[in-house]
């Protein structure tokens, strides 16, 4: 990262190779679509490039990177939501898609956390998919470690209820979501 700040082209390319997979996993987990995640990569790298001077030597790189990636995702989500709302208003409600490819047996991680609130889903993805520690997640989401722990606890409680409902029958999960 320091070499990248000094203008080293090789370091910049190595960084893209090293971090793009993690960013893709982050976006894919949040947006549920690898294709969209791939599209988002370009935008996030543009922002990372513009903000590279804000990385301070000795600080962890991942929270810095995910904090920017998170902002890109939020901006993208709000933009997309506005467009979708306009489309729904101008067309009709019969085109609203349902959940794609329901899996009858075990849910994937994405499907499992889909019913959770945005903030809880984000924290679980950063912890499980991206492998960040509680402290790193707190830095990336501009919150305190205590707040992250609370979100994780609430997410686990919700998942326990959802999983118990799913074990009883498929209607249980549908109602909870």
């Amino acid at each position: 990262m320091e070499r990248y700040q000094r203008g080293d082209q090789v370091a910049a390319q190595q960084l893209v190779d090293l971090l793009s997979g993690r960013l893709c996993a982050f976006f894919s987990g949040q947006m549920g679509s690898p294709a969209q995640a791939d599209d988002m990569l370009q935008e996030v790298w543009l922002r990372l490039h513009q903000a590279r001077h804000t990385y301070r030597h000795g600080e962890p790189v991942l929270p810095w990177m995910y904090a920017i990636a998170r902002r890109v995702r939020v901006d993208h989500y709000r933009r997309r939501r506005r467009i979708e709302l306009r489309e729904v208003a101008s067309e009709s409600l019969h085109n609203v898609p349902g959940r794609a490819n329901p899996v009858p047996d075990l849910p994937t991680f994405g499907e499992l956390i889909a019913p959770l609130p945005e903030s809880q889903r984000e924290v679980l993805i950063l912890l499980k998919v991206n492998g960040l520690s509680i402290d790193e997640v707190a830095r990336a989401t501009s919150s305190t470690a205590g707040s992250v722990k609370q979100k994780v606890h609430r997410a686990y409680n919700s998942l326990r209820v959802l999983l118990t409902g799913a074990a009883r029958g498929p209607s249980g999960a549908g109602e909870a979501s």
Partner: protein
């Protein structure tokens, strides 16, 4: 071992770590925890970015790559922000005088100026961290702003006596105008400094900037205004801080919308 204790072990277990025997015993006996642990341990193949996309990104970055100087340490920004706030208040005091300072008792002066100094430090640190993505947050921005207003409000309510005042609005509006006239240049100068970093949350940054600028106005008013009526101070002096904070927040909201 409780279900809450198990939560700390779920992710290490999912990543292949051994779990203590008492945790294993709990999971065996608790259906909810067992299903949660199983679900969280399930792995999926990680998505891989397309090579064309990576090439595009690399080409874009390498094409305009120039060396950049990393941001100065947080303490430099904190010092600059506090100096701006103090300097603006000092200029105002130089113009308007120190009648308020002489009217204060020792207790009032000690409480008000100690609290103002502490709040200025907290607001400046929160603000300086807003411009560095991934900074450690020890106090959320909203808490810093509301804490500042609550502390100053409590001090004024406790240490100052309420009185009936026939010219409540006319004298109050003068104080409000002076407070805001001091806050405005502070906010503009702070914003110029903050633009050097990356502001990810313009609303929080705007609110904190407004609060720090309002603090500068409040500092000036406490030194200049000899009116010790609690109603006057709570309404007009603290009102200048509230107006400044609201102004900063609104500008932050506008910046965020324009950005999108």
């Amino acid at each position: 071992m409780t279900c809450r204790d198990i939560e700390r072990l779920i992710l290490p277990y999912a990543q292949g770590a051994e779990i203590p025997p008492e945790a294993a015993a709990h999971i065996t006996g608790c259906a909810k925890c067992a299903s949660l642990v199983r679900a969280m341990a399930a792995t999926e193949p990680a998505p891989i970015p397309s090579s064309e996309r990576l090439q595009q990104i690399k080409a874009g970055i390498v094409a305009g790559l120039k060396p950049v100087k990393p941001l100065a340490p947080t303490r430099v920004f904190v010092a600059a922000l506090i100096l701006i706030a103090a300097f603006a208040a000092a200029v105002g005091v130089f113009e308007l005088g120190t009648a308020g300072w002489h009217a204060l008792s020792v207790l009032q002066a000690a409480a008000v100026f100690t609290a103002l100094a502490g709040c200025a430090l907290v607001l400046a640190v929160s603000l300086a961290r807003q411009i560095v993505p991934g900074s450690r947050v020890w106090l959320p921005a909203a808490w810093s702003v509301f804490g500042f207003l609550a502390i100053m409000g409590a001090i004024f309510a406790i240490l100052y006596q309420p009185q009936r005042e026939p010219t409540f609005i006319s004298t109050g509006l003068v104080c409000l105008r002076i407070g805001l006239e001091c806050a405005l240049p502070v906010a503009l100068l702070c914003w110029l400094i903050l633009r050097r970093g990356a502001i990810l949350n313009p609303v929080a940054a705007g609110a904190l900037t407004g609060a720090l600028a309002g603090l500068s106005g409040l500092l000036l008013l406490e030194i200049f205004c000899p009116n010790l009526n609690a109603y006057h101070i709570l309404t007009w002096h603290l009102g200048a801080v509230v107006a400044s904070t609201l102004g900063g927040t609104i500008i932050g909201v506008i910046v965020e919308r324009v950005r999108k």
